[in-house]
Symmetry: C2
Subunit: 145 residues, 2 copies
DNA sequence: ATAATTAAAGACAAAGTTATCTTTAATTCC
DNA sequence: GGAATTAAAGATAACTTTGTCTTTAATTAT
């Protein structure tokens, strides 16, 4: 569904929301290990998330690292997709028509639109923080054993 | 969600199911124009669909072309995904965990699993022919105007 | 047989994705 | 100020995806 980059972005931000704060920043080594992702590639991704879209913050130097502000933690998960430039996946036609709409629907549209609505709702209604909270409870995981 | 190749495969097979038969084969030119896809690339894709998985048939020479048998038209849409090697998209974890399961669920699993079930059901229960029938009725489209 | 038609097969190329590694810059600690 | 630490920036490379073009092979019509 999503690119590797976006999968890592989702896992990394949820991990950051759970473990980091302005007072406690995390190094790329810890993050990549925690979410089982390639270190340098993950660094690039987090770097890009600190840019235009303000979802992740960072500072260099000793005791520096990546973290999320309390405000950023309350963003919907969809803001990660937006920042990664993959938000259109939720909106696009499942058969690849240029436009997904009721005006010129593809043969799968009628059935797909209700699924699409739920997908959009899932990514819009849940905040990064809400998903992170469940890891704390130990009921869900951010990597396989 | 799917690759361009799979999108073209879905559109092409639905078009073939609607317009072709063993007695009336379609040339690659007509197919690519009808579904608004790159001609040579689409040829490659159809070629691959005539291989291992028997979803599309073809014959060379005058009055040759691509077609689908009545049996193939009754295959579930999912068989296209299978033939294109993208079936795992329906099964995989939305956050990229190696395994999507109740045993080690990711933070989105609980909400996503119900959507996933509907997605799988959509591709499993609808046949290629059923989707093609709606184009005939003029209520849905296989390309944009 | 020969020519025409059509898909199959293969070589190739441009672009995008997924990574890695090195150098630079910012920050802190001493 | 100098050394250590950490992310930023940049170069590079392997691989995949998307696409084109040319040659070959099969089939049909004359
Ligand atoms: S038009 Fe294809 S899913 Fe909406
Ligand atoms: S484990 Fe992530 S969607 Fe099921």
């Amino acid at each position: 569904m999503f690119s590797k980059a976006t999968e890592y972005a989702l896992r990394a931000t949820i991990y950051l929301a759970q473990k980091s704060s302005e007072a406690h920043k995390l190094g790329i080594e810890e993050i990549a290990t925690a979410i089982d992702s390639p270190r340098s590639f993950t660094a690039k991704i987090l770097q890009s998330l600190t840019k235009d879209n303000r979802v992740v913050s960072s500072v260099r130097g000793p005791h520096g690292g990546f973290y999320m502000s309390e405000k950023a933690k309350k963003l919907p998960v969809r803001s990660i997709l937006l920042a990664m430039g993959e938000d259109q996946i939720l909106e696009k036609c499942v058969m690849g028509l240029k436009l997904c709409s009721e005006i010129e629907p593809c043969p799968m549209h009628a059935q797909y639109k209700v699924i699409k609505k739920q997908l959009i709702n899932l990514f819009t209604s849940k905040t990064i923080q809400q998903l992170a909270a469940e890891i704390q409870e130990g009921v869900v995981f951010i990597k396989n054993k």
